[in-house]
Every structure is written in structure tokens, then in C-alpha cells.
Symmetry: D2
Subunit: 364 residues, 4 copies
């Protein structure tokens, strides 16, 4: 039997369950022993029921593990490297169909009409059950995008970066930072720091991070922020805007990246944009409700307000390349502050709900 932690009812504690060990693998399948599973902020939103998912679900969509068994025909990873049992791997959380309106015609595979994500979209009561990272093992479907990890890339770096980094890479592909840009990042959670890393790599002349609490802003400075603005020191939005513009120059930033998730951040972010800026709305992953919004601002400031959903396998490739370079792997691994065994997944999830620490992981 394989142990897993299961979300059975929104807002209720996760339950420890056991599922049968998978039998003989079908062609292209892979059974992975999970070594680290990240707890993403989205998991906290899922736990609250802010996105439509089928219960019960084994959460966990950013994980690293070892190939325990591979099905017939699965010989190469996504990059074309040979795959062998025992290899350390990670994988893209979603599989898209490659055939629908969005995959084929519009080249928006993250909006694939039949996209399913490990740890999110699979009903754990249906065989083969093991489709999430909060478990001892996960069974990957044929067609999954698996990446063998280089020997010197620690699992904590990969999960510390997590889906935040791939999401930021995709978002900043859609709303790119150009060399010399002034950037404001709203939020210093995992997505905010990842957007900071990508902005830095893209040649931003200056990056200002607006967030908190202090230990996250310290981390932001480690990640290369030129200035950080602590929202608890500037609780008044007008003063906060003044503090931001003191850094960007009076007209505002060339690119603003919202990585907060609270819808009010969108109105605040508009105020950080110079006229003609790009405003990447990256944090509104869950449906967290409506705001009062004046669309005249979009016209008058001639903004580009850009949304981005999830990521493609090639963004995982890019993330692993970034992590392989000196410096970043240590910084992203350094985001992890809490580690729990699988049996305490519920407590682990609560640390994320309370945003009290850095990144939390399970070590099944």
C-alpha cells in the first residue's frame, strides 16, 4: 500500500489514506517515489475551494522523486536524455492534449480544453489514485513531461523554485522585461521572488519589490532587489505609492508584475505603471472576488494588462537551466524554511495558509 494525504472536503483537515501499489505499468507510464513535495500557495486556495476541483484530491503539483519503475517504451526524458530506474526526476504538472482549439490553432496550450494537472485535477477515489505529490509515490501518465535532474541540482532547489518559477517564466515571456527596464514586483512570496529572478536575468535596470514580512524582503534583497518596500511600514496605499515612485521615478515603472493574489493588488499595481507600461497580472490564480475598477485608466494610460496561466514543459526546461547556474540554485533552495513528514501534511499546509514562513515542503 502507498500512503497519501488527501483533501476530502474544502476547508477541512487533510486525511491520511492508503492506496494500492500500482500493478504492471502501461506503456509510457512512470512510477516515482516522491522525495520532496512543495506546498504551493495555490494549494491553500484549492483547500479553500477557490478553484473548481473534483474531491477527493491528493494535492501536490511541484515535486521531485526517483524513478521506481518505468513502463514499456519510456526511454527518454523531455530533453532527450536517457531515463533509468533510480534517476532523480521532476515533471511538468500538466499534460495537454495537443489537438484542441487552443493547443493546435491558437498555440495557447496552457488553456488546453482537456488539460489535467497532477495534484489538482484527478479524483483520488478513481484508480490508479496516485496522481498527486502529497504521497509516497505518484504514477505519471504516458505523455508526461519528465526531466532528469543533473547530479548537482538539489531537489530543494527545484521544489524551492517550484511552479512559482515556471509560472513567472511563462508570464514574463508574455510580458517581457527588456534590458534597462524599471520593474516593480508586487508581492514577495514564491511567485514574487521568481519574477524578481527572471527580471534580474532579463536585464532590468532596477527592480523594486513591494511586500512583506521582513524575512521575505531580506530574501528579496538576496535575490537582487534594488529596493524593497514593506507594506506594514507603509500601510496607507497613497504613501506606499509615493514610496514606490520615489524608487521608480515620478512616472512609474516600465513593467509591473502583480504576484499577490489579493484582487486589490490590481488597482494598486495600475498606480505603479508609467503610461504605456506593461502590467502582468500573474497572481490572480484563484477566484478571490471582484474589485471596484475604473477602465478609463487602461485607456488613458495606454497600458498593456497581460494575464498568464500556468506554464508549458519548455518553461520547466528553462527553469532547470536557470537553476543549474551558480547562485540561483542556492537562493531558491534558501526559500525553504519548513519541512514536514507526509503524515503531517495538514500542519504543513497550515503554515502556507498563514503565510507565516517561507516555503514549506513535505519529505515523504
Amino acid at each position: 500500500m502507498v500512503k497519501a494525504s488527501v483533501l476530502e472536503a474544502f476547508g477541512q483537515p487533510l486525511t491520511n489514506r492508503e492506496y494500492p501499489e500500482p500493478g504492471e505499468l502501461a506503456p509510457g507510464e512512470a512510477l516515482v517515489r516522491v522525495e520532496i513535495a512543495g506546498i504551493c500557495g495555490t494549494d491553500a486556495h484549492l483547500w479553500l475551494g477557490q478553484l473548481p476541483i473534483p474531491l477527493p484530491v491528493i494535492l501536490g503539483h511541484e515535486s521531485v522523486g526517483r524513478l521506481e519503475r518505468v513502463g514499456p517504451g519510456l526511454k527518454l526524458d523531455w530533453r532527450g536524455n536517457p531515463l533509468r530506474e533510480g534517476d532523480r526526476v521532476t515533471w511538468a504538472s500538466s499534460i495537454n492534449c495537443g489537438e484542441c482549439f487552443y493547443c493546435r490553432l491558437k498555440r495557447q496550450p496552457t488553456r488546453c480544453l482537456s488539460r489535467k494537472a497532477y495534484g489538482i485535477s484527478y479524483n483520488a477515489s478513481e484508480a490508479p489514485h496516485l496522481r498527486g505529490g502529497y504521497a509516497e509515490k505518484i504514477l505519471l501518465r504516458p505523455g508526461s513531461s519528465i526531466f532528469r535532474l543533473p547530479g548537482d541540482l538539489p531537489g530543494e532547489a527545484v521544489v524551492g523554485a517550484g511552479c512559482a518559477l515556471t509560472t513567472a517564466i511563462h508570464g514574463l515571456e508574455r510580458a517581457p522585461v527588456t534590458w534597462g527596464d524599471v520593474v516593480v514586483i508586487q508581492g514577495s512570496g514564491p511567485v514574487g521572488l521568481a519574477a524578481l529572478a527572471v527580471s534580474r536575468e532579463s536585464g532590468a535596470a532596477k527592480v523594486v519589490v513591494v511586500g512583506g514580512p521582513n524575512h521575505r524582503l531580506e530574501l528579496a534583497r538576496v535575490f537582487g532587489a534594488d529596493a524593497t518596500i514593506n507594506i506594514s511600514e507603509f500601510p496607507d496605499p497613497a504613501q506606499r505609492r509615493e514610496a514606490v515612485l520615489a524608487q521608480t521615478g515620478p512616472h512609474g515603472a516600465d513593467v509591473v508584475v502583480e504576484c499577490v493574489g489579493h484582487p486589490d493588488a490590481v488597482n494598486e499595481g495600475l498606480g505603479f505603471c508609467r503610461d504605456g507600461a506593461q502590467f502582468l497580472v500573474l497572481g490572480q490564480y484563484a477566484n478571490a472576488g471582484e474589485i471596484s475598477f475604473n477602465p478609463h485608466t487602461v485607456t488613458r494610460k495606454q497600458l498593456r494588462m497581460v494575464g498568464s496561466w500556468g506554464f508549458e514543459p519548455r518553461h520547466v526546461d528553462a527553469a532547470l537551466t536557470l537553476l543549474a547556474s551558480t547562485g540561483w540554485k542556492e537562493k531558491f533552495a534558501g526559500e525553504i524554511t519548513h519541512r514536514y513528514p507526509l503524515s503531517e501534511a495538514n500542519a504543513a499546509l497550515q503554515t502556507v495558509r498563514e503565510w507565516s514562513g517561507g516555503k514549506t515542503v513535505l519529505l515523504p
Copy 2:
């Protein structure tokens, strides 16, 4: 003395005034006898006080006239054609400084920090007074972008297209229709029809116009709409969306262009967008208030929501080139349904306020 019609108090009738004939012209100036002055929907918003302008103002920012006198050194029009007294001309409504943060560094001249527009930004109580189109004459400043009209291009075509066409050209430069796109245009006023014309020219495979009343939708079909949806036949937004998607296909349009001006249109337009679409917010020129808005939609549908403000002189050039081609000049001239003498400018403005007709012009 030169007669003009003046907005002296928001929401109050325009006043007929006389101003002294300008004396000797300074280098680069031009005195134009106005032949036709369009009454733009923006004028109705200005009349209501929805944009900050200095009263009193001679309204009128889309006009055609004859060069009566030219100041020393003014020898060529914007295109390099020789200018002579008696020539029929039009001109860009704004002058930008060419030196500020937006003009120089960010190449967003429509957001020039010291931009001033004829018929909008000039206090008529200050000499030389004549800075708007609702007048017998207008005095153009040095540096104005003047365009000599080809002999076979009627003034009614130019003013029928008006600033709606140049605004649509700029907006669709920022959010381009690509050959083969399915386009939905919200609104069948002058900006909507102009956006329809530019979409058609850009190779849209299908253009659906949502608007009214019927005589405007008939005009939309003359302009090349493949389908029109009358909002009074579909007063319920859910039914209207169904009717639009029946035309675009179930996923929605590649490009949606909001040309309505009422802020609610923005939420409705989001519902016409396919995932990954471009949504050009072109109509929110005046500050018409806030809406309840869910930014999760922008992230989840990974939209590009694009604003655009005004236009540059090169967009006037493009508009005149479009109008010079067979077919369009007749269609745009055909938008004009009401003609008034200057002395009845107030009555003319009211026709626009009530959106009762097509395009209204003054014949000073």
C-alpha cells in the same frame, strides 16, 4: 471679428462669441477658415465635464478648412507637399513637445507631458483665442501637423471619419488584427465603424458588430460587418453573449475592440474574448466611473487588455491614405446625417449627446 461657439460652463448651452481677427502671423503659424467641423462624442463628454479642461473653450478637434494666411517659413505640409494660401487642409489635433520623458525616452508621444489639443486644452479667454473648430477661423500654432487634402477627397469624408478613424488606427496598431482573425467590435458609433474599417483592411476573417440602433448597424453592414447584433433585440447580456458566440464560435473572438465608452462594456467584452485574446479598450476616453471587475479573468483567460490614447500625426497620414482609396471615402462621408450652421452649434451638440443620429457637423 471672428465668430465662435464657446463652452463656458459644463452642462450649459454653448455661447456665441466674437474674437478679434489675428494680426500678423508669427513664423510657422497658419490661419485657417473652417469649412467643416465635426462634433465628436468626446465633445459631449467634455460638455458634461468628464475630462479636466480649462473653461472657456472653443470645442472642435476634427475639422477641415482652407488656408487663409500662412506665417513666414511655413512652406510644406507634414507629408512634404507645398502649402499655399487657399489650399484645403486638415491637421492633427495635438502637438507634442518631442522632448519629455514620454516623447523621447518611451516613444509614447500621445502621452506627452505637455500635449495640448485644439478644441480641448486651450483657454479661449486667452489670446489668440482661436484654438478650436467651432469657429469661423482657427489659428494653428507653429509645429502643427498640417495635411493638404487631395483634390478628390471631400471634407465630409475627412470629418465623417474624424478622430474616430485616427484613434482606431492607433489602437489597432497597439493591438493588431492579424489576417484571419475573428473580431468582435462593441459599439457602432464612429469609433466602432472606424475600428470595423481598419479590421476589415487588416484581413479579419470575420467581424461581428454589437451595437445599435438599427440605422447604425445598417451602416456597419455597409462598412463590411459580417454580422451585427442589436443590443435592443438582445437586452439581456447572457443572451447577447450567446448571440455573439454563435457568430464567433464557442470559444470567442481573437480580438475584441471596445468602442462604447460606458464602463460596463468592458466586463461584457471580456466575455467575448477567447482565451489568449487581445482586448482593446478603446472607448473609455472619459472617466465614466467604476465597475465591479474580477481580475482573475485576466489571469485565467491569459488575456492582453490594451489601452490606447489619441493618435500621432502619422496616424492622420494613414487615415488620409485609407480615405483616398475607392469606397472608404464614400462610406465615411455617409456617416454624416446632420449639418448645422455655426450659430446653431449648441443644437448640433445636443444631437450627439442624444446619440440620436449618425455624425453631426458644423458648416461655419
Copy 3:
């Protein structure tokens, strides 16, 4: 047995051969009875040995036919329409792997490392032999992109457009014509006319076609060329350039599309470009040798010289959408001037070699 016409030695007459009827179809395969097979200019280059291909080959990569049998699991066409035996279909000539460096990482599937094209890359001496259009039947591999034809779209329109149209659509996606551009097209063969059609649809303000002979230039005018320049009337390149610039304006065109194939056309095309222009080199499909070339021109005129190879299935979709619209299907069908039975494939190919007519097709 199934009859086919086979290229067995470069520069030698095609041979009529018979191959065994395919047995039971594998999953995803389709057996198509060919109704029309186009003879592409590339076939003439292949016949001369100007691209590396494995002999013997059944040529023919642009065809229309009827589904005779479908293998298990093949239920939908590329667009998601149901497929049934007896349906009229066309198909993308190539299959790409979806997994290599170019398919996955660089999103350049037309440069797939293991791409194979019907009528070009398959050795006819290897079973199942039937991989080209110059045959009574063709056996399509699993994963082929099959398109069911609408009832009112004649096969002659599809083959008249042929791979020229999909190639032009891809090329002009890489080097787009923007609304209002002045375009020069070098060549009035099938690719030239297709580029003309796409330029027209993309909103070119003016399209000038430089080519010949007269009957092709007449066709160019039917396709919407504003001006045509007959190279036999202007045999001197300097005079030809003067004639072109008389049409484009003295600085040259915004976009120049080379659709000639002779390498000298590239130098001539540079001379038609305004500074900062896009120059789409679309016709250099075969290796036809070197030219004397001055790269200083590229720097000084700050050009964008863009290459494009083949097309993706989504370009076939776009082509069929274009052909479905009124007007274009008739125009493209009108390119066909010569029709031959399969047994006379060799004679048919010679008409193309001599560029004596319009488009030639086989009716197997």
C-alpha cells in the same frame, strides 16, 4: 495493384510502376484514392536533383482525394470534424516528431530533425511504397494532419493553391505585411500569386508584382495586383528597378517578397527595399547556387531579411479558410491550365519545367 509514376533517376523520365494494394490498415492510417495531384515547381527542382532525396520516389506533395479506408481510431480530422470513408480530404505534406530540439524547445516544427514529407522523403522501393501523390492511391501515416474539405470547395481550388499558398501564409507570418504597407512581389508563379493573395488580405495599400509572362501577370491583376512589371519588357535590371520605384515611391517598398527561386532575384530584391524594410526570401527552396552579395547593404539599409521553410498544419487550416471565402477559390482554381492522366505524369512534369503554362495537375 496500385499504379504510380516514379522518379528513379534525376533528370530522367518518370517511370510508370505498380505497387501492391495495402493490406489491413494500422491504427491511425488512412488510404486515400487520389483525385487531383498538383505538380509543384519544387518537383521540377527535385527532378533535377537540387535537393537531397532518396530515389526512387513517388513525387506529389499537394493532393486531394477520397478516403477509401481508415485505420482503427482515426475518427476526427485535424479540425475535429468527423472523418468517414468517402470523405474528400487534403492533408499536410509533412509530419513532424513533436519531440526534437526544433519541435519542442525552439518551436520551429518546420525544421523538425526527423520531418518527412509525402512525395519527397519516402523511398518508394520500401513498403508500403505509396507515399506520394503521383499515384492512384496514397497511404497516410498515423499522425498525418488530414482536413476534410467543405462540400463547396472544389479540389481544383485546393490544388491550384497548393503548397504555394501554405508556404506564403507561413512566410508572411514570419515577415508580416501590416495594414497600409507597400509590397513588391518578385515572381508571378504559384508562390508569387499566393503571396499576393495573402498581402492583399493583410491590408497592403499597394502590391506590385514583377514577373512574367503576360498570362501570369494578367492573373496577378485578377488576384488584385495594383501594378505588374513584365521582366521581358524591362530586361535591364536598372530600368526594372526604376519601373518598380516609380510604383512604390522613390525609397522602395515596406515589404519585398522574393518568390522567384533564381538566386539573382535576391540581389534585385534588396534594391526594391526601402531602408528598414522586411525582405522575405521565400523562393530559394532549392540550392540553386551562389551569388555575389554585398552584406554592407544589410547593415546600411538596416534590413530584415527573413527566411521561411515549408509550413505547419495550422497554415493548411488558414489556407482552407481563405479558399472557403468567395472569390479566392475561383481565382486559385483558375491557375490550373494543364490537366494530365497519371500515365502522362512525365509530360505533365515537363510543362512545369518549362514554366510554359500556369499550374499543371494530374487526374489519376
Copy 4:
């Protein structure tokens, strides 16, 4: 009298001349006492007569000096900072008209039809003579783009970067390096090192420099090259290509930047491009003759071959921002290896002709 060094005949030694001190300055003019004047590789090409210029000419288009006198009305620098006599300044070498086909309609101001460059386009025999940097003083025309230097930015950093940096910034704006790209730079002269700096800032994952001699490649490593390939160690082009591909991966680089100037480099650079790559032809400033070139490569590899000419004032602004950041100012200043007094301008120019050293400057 003001001393200057003058090119009076192509290929002949420069002559030391004296010109009258300018009288009262016209509005907008500025008289600058030159402190450092860079000797650009282009100067060597000009000396050879490889670009059409009017003799005699005072060469020198990259200089730093102090404002000695300013004409009426000249109060602000290009960035809006106040200008005072005694300020240290640099300036864009060209003035464009803002009114021609390229300035207005096509937004290609570097191809302005009446563009003139200090040190290149002005006949020194015509008053006011002082239009080049190889002189004690230079008289800047009204409309020149003047930049006041920050106090901590040494003139040697500005001239060490010179027009190479602004040229590279413009070029890489036209053919951008995207975060994660593999880049090959051909040439380790000033333009090559500048392109390396901009690639690095743009987030290149790997930059390979092909050039020489060794002291320049050492400098390239200081500038951040991941790998350098010495052309004298790999004199055989096939081996050189192998050495480059060993660094880029077997398919080649995402972006190749030609900064050599010798036309043969263009063919070699094509061989470093992966299919679908961008190839920036940045070094072919002078007309150095023709090469044998196969355009089939452009089509088959579906390349983007991009030219770029000169730079705009906003690229000077960007360069100064880059130089103001820690690290780069020291690196660029470090390029200067030879310093000469004005009276030895001819000897100075010969060091550049022989490419024997790093960067050479005059200290008038």
C-alpha cells in the same frame, strides 16, 4: 585659433590645422572644449575612403568635453538636466531632421535623409569648421543631443564604450537577445565587446566570442564571455565552426552577432546559426566588397538576418545608464590602451588601422 587634425586626402596622413575661434554663439549652439576623443574603427575605414564623405574632414565622432560656452536658449540637456558652462558632456554624433520619410513615417531616424554626423559628414573647409572631435574644440549645432555626465562617470569610460556601445544597443534592440539565449559574437573589437555586454545584460545563458588576439579575448572574459575562441588557434573555418558548435550545442546559437566588418564573416556567421536563429549583421559599416553567398541558406534555415545602422539619442541615454552601473564603467574604461596628444592624431589613427592594441584615444 583652435587646433585640429584634418583628413584632407584618403589614405594620406592627417594634417594639423588651425581654425578661428567661433564668435558669438547662435541660439541653441554649444562650444565644447574636447577632453577625450575616441578613435573608432570606422575612422580607419573613413581614412581609407570606404564610405562617401566630403573632404577635408575633422574626424572624431565619440568624444567627451566641457561646455565652454552655450548659445541663448540652451538650458537643458537631452534628459532634462540643467546645462551650465563647465559641465562635462557627451553628445549623440548625429542630428536627424525629424521631418523626412524615414524620421516621420517609417520611424527609422538613423536613416534620416538629411542626417549629418560630427566627425564624418561636415566639410572642415566651410565655416564654422569645428565639427569633429580630433580638435581642441567642437561647435555643436542647435538641436544636438547633449548629455551631462554624472560626476562619477569618467570620460574614459564613455569614450572607451564609444559609439560601439550605442551601436550594439541599437542593433540588439532590433535583434534582441532573450533571457536564456545562446549567443555567438563574431569579433572582439569594441563593437564585439559592447555586444557582449548588452547580451550579458539581456540575460544570455551563454555567450561565446570568436576573435582575437589574445589580449582582446582576455578582455572578453573580463566582460563576461563564457567561452572564447581564438581565430589564430583555429585558422581553418571548418575547425572553427566545430569549436563554436562544441560550445553552443550541435544546432548552433539562438543569436549570432557579426561585429567583424570583413564581409567573409557573414558567411561564417550563418554557419553558427541554429535554424530559426537571428543573425545580426552589425559590423558591415563600410563597403568592404562582395562575397559569394548562397541565399538558399536563408530560406532553408529560416533565418532572420537583421541589419542596424548607427543609433538614436535614446541609445546614448541607455549606454550612459549602463555605464553608470558598477562594474561596466571600469570594464569599458579598461579597453583604452593608447593615449595620444592631438598633435599625434595621425600616429594614433595608425594604431587603430593595425588593430594592434585596444582602444586608442586623443587627449587634446
